[in-house]
């Protein structure tokens, strides 16, 4: 197993280090808070000659996504990053590149979406990419961000996959936080991640047509094939995470990660940086005998329904913490978890809106959530509507 170098760095730097280690060849970005540090660090690396890449500073996120779409289609390993409105501005291109099966890695540095205007973190931006056909991985901390970006290229560029991969990392909580991150020698990363070898590319020697038109007799068939590949990607996400663990000793889970779920009566389900706080809360509650655990969903699309079912069916109560909201119905993650458990004689699922627009989630708030879950387990009736955690009820 390879030993790396551990040092304290900002989350944005951990991501930039991963992009450098992946030997990305074309980068394009447009400034938006809190993604900017990644764009700046990469610009510095290119300016210093540490990273041999074309870096295109463009007129909008729409162009940033378009540039990397074009460069990846030409056969260059390509990367972009954005947040919030900027990500939304990319949306059309993301559907486009996923359908065309062009592997690009994109960092979604999570931030809430206007209006009201907010630069605080939540998942409202990336959750809207649910149906783009991209693979979507949510990371827990800076180390996870580093690992996952490198893995993302390997997953997306695999000949059996060929899909863009979105790595979602909470703005501020990850992007602007300094913590120790272990990085690995270039030759070891190279051994893990070979150069991009596209199946098709824009090349006069072998001309192909990208972006053809489908009609009613074959459009649905293309969708079916894409859907099948997404299913197949579940195996690939697991496989690549396993290989990364074997080589580098880093384990943040594959599709999911379980934490003290074995005998848990209550299981908390979440994505992203909330998971760290949940794990600490679980440790505290375990000390007083509460049987509680955490299920982290690392891969949001493809959705690990079977894996989730396997873990959650053992619990009595499941609490899903959503960091985004589908107005008029509830938490998107809750909806998906409930769907994964359908037709099961399984646990009751409680929904919690937590951490929207940067609202802090503390260990105390997690304890409150678990208390509610225990009431349910004890047969005490509770409000089954989604609960908004840490609400300032005085002003609504």
């Amino acid at each position: 197993m390879t030993m790396g170098t551990k040092r304290v760095m900002e989350g944005s730097m951990a991501i930039a280090e991963a992009i450098k280690a992946a030997r990305v060849q074309v980068i394009s970005a447009y400034p938006i808070t809190p993604q900017t540090h990644v764009a700046e660090f990469l610009a510095e690396m290119v300016a210093n000659g540490e990273l041999e890449a074309e870096y295109l500073k463009v007129d909008a996120e729409f162009s940033a996504a378009s540039v990397v779409f074009g460069s990846a289609a030409t056969g260059a390993r390509s990367y972009t990053a954005s947040s919030s409105q900027g990500l939304l501005l990319m949306t059309e291109v993301l559907y486009n590149m996923a359908g065309m099966r062009i592997p690009v890695v994109i960092t979604g540095m999570n931030r809430s979406v206007s209006t009201p205007v907010s630069i605080q973190p939540d998942h409202q931006d990336t959750i809207t990419f649910r149906d783009t056909g991209m693979i979507q991985l949510y990371v827990e901390d800076s180390q996870d961000a580093y690992n996952t970006h490198i893995q993302a290229f390997k997953i997306g560029e695999d000949r059996d996959i060929l899909l863009p991969v979105l790595v979602a990392a909470d703005g501020w909580t990850i992007s602007h936080t300094f913590e120790p991150v272990e990085t690995f020698p270039q030759e070891e990363i190279d051994a893990f991640l070979p150069p991009y070898n596209p199946l098709y590319k824009l090349d006069p020697k072998e001309p192909v047509t990208f972006g053809a038109i489908a009609m009613a007799h074959n459009l649905m068939e293309f969708r079916y094939l894409h859907h099948q590949v997404m299913h197949h990607a579940k195996k690939k996400v697991e496989e690549v995470a396993r290989e990364f663990k074997e080589r580098f000793g880093q384990d943040y889970g594959g599709l999911i990660q379980e934490y003290r779920t074995d005998d848990a009566e209550v299981i908390l389900v979440a994505m992203g940086s909330l998971v760290g706080t949940l794990k600490d809360a679980v440790d505290e509650m375990r000390e007083t005998g509460t049987r509680v655990g955490v299920l982290k969903i690392r891969c949001y699309r493809p959705f690990p329904d079977e894996e989730i079912r396997r873990v959650l069916s053992r619990a009595r109560t499941v609490c899903v913490l959503d960091r985004s909201i589908s107005q008029g119905y509830g938490g998107p993650l809750t909806i998906d978890v409930k769907a994964a458990l359908h037709n099961q004689r399984g646990p009751q699922v409680l929904s919690f809106m937590a951490g929207l627009g940067g609202k802090d989630v503390t260990i105390e708030s997690v304890k409150g959530i678990v208390e509610k879950a225990q009431k349910v387990a004890d047969g005490i009736p509770v409000d089954e509507e989604p609960e908004f955690v840490n609400m300032n009820w005085n002003i609504v």
């Binding site: 040092r7 809190p34 605080q120 300094f178 913590e179 120790p180 760290g276 706080t277 503390t362």
Partner: protein, 181 residues
């Protein structure tokens, strides 16, 4: 796990202080985490930065509410920010000022230490850039991070001549604080 909150103004280097502490604590073989209060730092505006230092990996991502230590870079903030908020009764606040704790009149159970970091900065750096002097003073007062680890962390952020001067400022402040305590 110990938690520190730094109050300063945009441009005074509160975030970089937090970063250097995190690096230095890590050098000491501890786990650390540093982050600013989320949301765009504007020059002159009150800012806050946070540090966590512990013996186990730090997974907690919530903000700091009950710091063990508070560092106040600029007493003019006393008028605008409740710098004592949540400070643990057995904690400590370190204030950059030439005034005495009594003159400040802070209403707290916690220990109050005042320290003339600006003076030291002016003397050694020739400019009122106070963060390294405050760092030295804080280290001497708490023993949370070793001076041995602080020096390379300072040099990492301020290379060359500037690094030498800043290390000197930190050391001077450290010694001064040690003498006083």
């Amino acid at each position: 796990m110990k938690e520190i909150r730094i109050h300063g103004r945009g441009g005074q280097g509160s975030v970089i202080t937090a970063e250097i502490f995190a690096i230095a604590a890590f050098e000491d073989g501890k786990y650390s985490q540093a982050f600013p209060r989320f949301g765009g730092e504007r020059r002159g505006a009150p800012v806050e930065a946070f540090i966590r230092i512990g013996d186990k990996p730090i997974r907690l991502k919530s903000q700091v509410y009950n710091p063990d230590y508070v560092i106040l870079q600029d007493t003019s903030l006393l008028q605008v920010v409740d710098v004592l908020q949540g400070l643990k009764p057995d904690g400590m606040i370190l204030v950059n000022t030439e005034k005495s704790p009594e003159e400040l009149g802070l209403q707290t159970q916690a220990q109050v230490i005042t320290f003339p970091a600006t003076q030291i900065a002016l003397e050694i750096l020739g400019a009122p850039i106070t963060n390294t002097a405050i760092m030295g003073a804080f280290l001497a007062a708490t023993d949370l991070i070793s001076m041995k680890s602080l020096e390379p962390a300072v040099r990492e952020k301020f290379p060359g001549d500037l690094g030498d001067k800043n290390v000197k400022a930190a050391r001077k402040a450290y010694e001064k604080m040690r003498e006083a305590l």
